[in-house]
Every structure is written in structure tokens, then in C-alpha cells.
Symmetry: C2
Subunit: 357 residues, 2 copies
Amino acid sequence: MPRPLRYAVVLAGGSGSRFWPRSRVRMPKQLLPIVSARTMLQDTVARVAPIVPRKRIRVVTARDHARAVRAQLPALGRRQVLVEPEGRNTAAAIALATLDLMRDRDDAVIAVLPADHAIDDGPRFRADLRLALDVAERTDALVTLGLRPTRPETGYGYIRPGGAVRGTSGRVAWVEAFIEKPAPRRAAALLARGRVLWNSGIFAWRASAILGALRAHLPALVAALERALDRRDPAALAAAYRRLRPVSIDTGVLERAARVAVVRARFAWADVGSWAALEGFWRTGSNGHNAIRGRALPIDSRGCVVDSPRRLIALVGVDDLVVVDSPDALLVCHKDRAQDVRLVVHELRRRGLERYL
Amino acid sequence: MPRPLRYAVVLAGGSGSRFWPRSRVRMPKQLLPIVSARTMLQDTVARVAPIVPRKRIRVVTARDHARAVRAQLPALGRRQVLVEPEGRNTAAAIALATLDLMRDRDDAVIAVLPADHAIDDGPRFRADLRLALDVAERTDALVTLGLRPTRPETGYGYIRPGGAVRGTSGRVAWVEAFIEKPAPRRAAALLARGRVLWNSGIFAWRASAILGALRAHLPALVAALERALDRRDPAALAAAYRRLRPVSIDTGVLERAARVAVVRARFAWADVGSWAALEGFWRTGSNGHNAIRGRALPIDSRGCVVDSPRRLIALVGVDDLVVVDSPDALLVCHKDRAQDVRLVVHELRRRGLERYL
């Protein structure tokens, strides 16, 4: 039997509002050069391309962003960009891509990569992902990549690893339990005990394994998508999506599946959830006290995150601020409140200031 | 003997750097609409015009700003704008204007008005100024307007009033002492004791009285200006100015003069020394917690001063910030550090970023 082919499915459907004013309704963060000079989507594809040939990469995105995705990835063929009529969280996106892939190859092994993660060590990432794909291929398990926590983060889910998967030198463990995003005190306790891992949301599995798990735990979702795809009618798919309940692959499948393994990954990783998370990625200013991209002049200021591609931003006597400039709007936010940038978006919508969305 | 004519001399020579990025080298604060929809210079002239006919108003400004001054005050004749070759503080500006006026009228009574003060009650201001002019005319004293302190301000000079000037119902007192800008503890003590007044820098005096005092206390300055004016040669005036030592009328003359009186003025006044001083002048935002001019969306933010004529500024979870937007540069400054905005200007100059000055 020939070795199964490896595919990558890039999830680029997010519509995050936490990067306003840089991100907008039509331009979510994965389509923006937030971490590096390339967009996060371009970085994600480039990062996996050395181990998955481009023609076996698929990108799943929402209708509103399909044009931008194609423009940013001109090397991908038309069929490689899968367009969801609207966002319904990761379970639907993964099911759609899996069903689509299995028409070509029912023995595919798939790496699932969110397009909005920052990873700063490509070779180490690929080594870990390769290990995950190997384990997925060999054991039929659903494999997730886990990261060692470095702070009591309340924005991530955690994984408690159990016994080692044989033949991995302890690098891969069977998952004993998933732990939902914890409250601050619990997050601190988890960090202190040191046994758990962050759930990265990066996965590897056989197409048959994830489809079996989807059928077992979300049968209505799979059935609805299969019926719609059989009709080869965009309107049918749109109608199916409209009725789908949004559910993540984690809560919908992984937390209920029997054979889930976790790779103890070693690359530096961040789910870039807010401007504050970028502090470690941007070069710091001349005095080293602030994370600055673009033009800024900090005076007696520390711990600030500044993004201003065009205009000069002068800071005087301020600490721990996020300042982001854009042509028509500017954000000044306390770094501890970076998650609440979405409140701006809500408020703009409430006031009918759609031009800023 | 006919009643002496009243003149107003508006001092518009400042080159303040504390209103960057709105103020620039060629556009100091008095030429900007910082407090109201008119520029501070226009406000100053409009405020005094009901009691001093426009043709008897003089504006003293620096060469760099003469064109803008004339453009903002088209009703003033060419000779009404007196151009100093360069700024040498208030004693020189007042001496120049006085010498110029005395060619026309040696019995003039002059009101001296800085162009960069904010005063929110025109009628009360004019009543107090009229009283000062009356006392100056009647007593030959140098009269200053004093304001009741409302906070332990360290940025103003103080005046200790002594005995009442006769016939003023206690509204005007002889000055017992001038107190230089105090340290914070002394400012608090001055405020607590309650007897002192802020020195507004608004004056009234006979032309002959101030010229006599200038001759007595700054004889070299007066002599140099007289020689230059006699030659009617701009180059001679420029050469004279180059050699002048900058000195304020307060330290150069008033603190040493014998007969100085102070009016207990009753209008609301602010020497608009920094962005923070504008808090009381701008309408507050919809929730009343921030002073906003232009477009801003404050969320969980208090005590901020925001000036953004064009772009939307969103604030999230920040307190006591000054945020000022301009086409090419933006300021984010802690309100307590508003005086230090000039550090930005110094730093820009040091780095050769002249385009932002």
C-alpha cells in the first residue's frame, strides 16, 4: 500500500474584532501583516510549505474574505480555497475541508493549521508537526500540538497529558483530559503544578479518523454538509450553513473522542488574541522599553505596544498602553484591557458608525 | 485737558512648544483655535474690542508669525502689527510697542493683553480691565490684574496685595510683594492662607508710566530700541534685538517698581500653558468623564483630554491621558506630564526630525 499523502488545511475564517482599528470587517487579522511583514495567512502557508507541497494545501475561509485570500496566495489554485457561506466555528470548517479532500484521497493525513497564530521557529515547528503527522498516520489517533505554558493564561484551553504513546520517546502522550479556559486562580494553579499543556489548536489526523469522529459526535453537521455537497449547489451549501450550530472542533469532537494524543511541542507559539500578545514579536524601541512597529518617540514611557506605519506617535510619561494608528481611526487602550478592544467594535456598531468597522 | 486715549497692546510673540503636535514652529498656540472655534489671538482682540476701538489695538509678534497674524486679523492696518525681529520676552515687546505708540500720543493709557490666555467671561473681563485702566489713568500706577487662586498652581507667579487703592471700594490694592512661581509645598501653603492672587500678566498703565519704569530699571534696553527706531531701519532693529537680554516685564520692571497696584479680578482665567489646562474649556463627552474636542469614543476611560478634528480616537480603559491628533503626528501623554510635551519638541530637534517641528 502506498504511503498516504499529507495535506494541510489552513483555517482562515476568523473575523476577530480585537485588532481594530487595523482589522476591519472585511480585513480580519489573519489577512493582515500583524506579526511580520507578510500577512499571518501567508506566514502560515509558508511555514508548512516545506513539508506539504503547495498543491496539497487547502485554505478554508468565509465568503467575505475569499477574494483577499486568493489575492494573498496567488500560487494556490481555485479549488484550493474552500469558501464557507458564513463562519460556523472550526468543526464545520474542518468537516467541509475533510469531506472535500476525501473525494480525491480517502487515505489523506491532514495537518490543520489556524491562520492566525504566531510561531517564530519554522524548523522546530515543522519537526513537531511531522511527529504529529507520523503518530496520526501510525495510530489513527486525533493528534493535537500542546505547548508548555509560560504564564497563567486564561485565554487558552489546557490539556492534561497521560501515558506516553509508544515509540515516541515520551514526546507524545495520550490525552487524559481537556481543561476549558480557566479562571485566573485556576490558571495560576495549573501553571504552578506544571503538568499541563496549552492546547494550540494545531492538529494532525487521518481524514478517515476525523471524519469518523465527526460522524460519531456531530452526525447532523456531517450529514447536512454531505447532502449539500452532493447537490453541488452553492445555494444548498448556504442553506445548510445557515442552519448549522456553531461549535468548535475541541468541544464538539476532541473532548469527547476516545483516542486523542498530544505532542509536547517545542516551538514558541502565540494565539495572537490581542494587540498585547504582539509585545514579544515586535522589535523594541531604541531604549528597549516598548514594543514598536513603525514610527514612535517614547519619552519616560514603558511597556507600551505601538503600531503606526505612517504617522509619528509621541508618548510622554505613559506606561502599558496599546496605541494603534490607522488612516481613519486610532486606538489607545490599556494593555490589560486589550481583549476589550472588541467593545469598541460593538459600540461603533451600536452607534451606526459602520464606516469604522 | 482732553481725556487720554486708551490703547490695547496684544502680545502675540510666544513660540510655545507645549501644544505640539497642534502647535508647530510656524504656528504657535496663540495662532491656533485651541480653546474656541477662533484662534486665541482672534479671541483676545474680540474680547477687548468693545472697550478699545480696533484702530487703537496693536499686536506685537515675531517675524516668523507676522504673516499669520495679519491673515487672522484682516481688519488691522499694516502699522498696527508690530514685528519683532525675534522674541526677547515681554519687556522688549512692551517697550517696543510703547515707544511706537508714544510717537502718536504721549498721553496714551495702555492695556497689555497676552494673546494666549483663555478667558470665558467677556463682560466681566472688560469691567475689570476698565477698572484697571481707570486706576492707571488716575494714579499713574502700573496696574496688574490678579486672580483668586483655585488650586496650588506652580506654573504661575503670585502677588501679595497690601493696602487698598483709595476710591476703589477695596477692589484694587497696592502690591506688597511679587512671589515667583512657587514649589508645590509653598503653592499649597499660599492657597491655604488665601491672601494672595495669581499674577495674570494682563496689565494697564499710562504709556508715560511704563516708559518711565522701563527707563529706570532697564535703561539699556530702552536706549537700544530708541536708537534703532530713530534710524527707521529694520536691520538696525534686528541688530539691536540680537544683543538684547531676554527679560520679562515682571522680573525686569514690575518687581522693582515703586507704585504697582493689583485689581482683584473676577473673571475665569487660564494661562493656557498645556493641553491639560484645556480640560475646563472643552465640552465633555457624552458620558461627561472626558474633555473631548472632535471625534472620540471613550470606553471605561476618565479624565482624558482628547483633541482630534478628523480621525476617530477610541479609548479603552485609560485614565488621565492627553491625546492630540494631527495630520502627521500624534501625542499620547499623561495629563500630569503635559508640561513635558516640550521634551518631544527637543527630542525631535535632537534627532533632526525637523519636519515634525
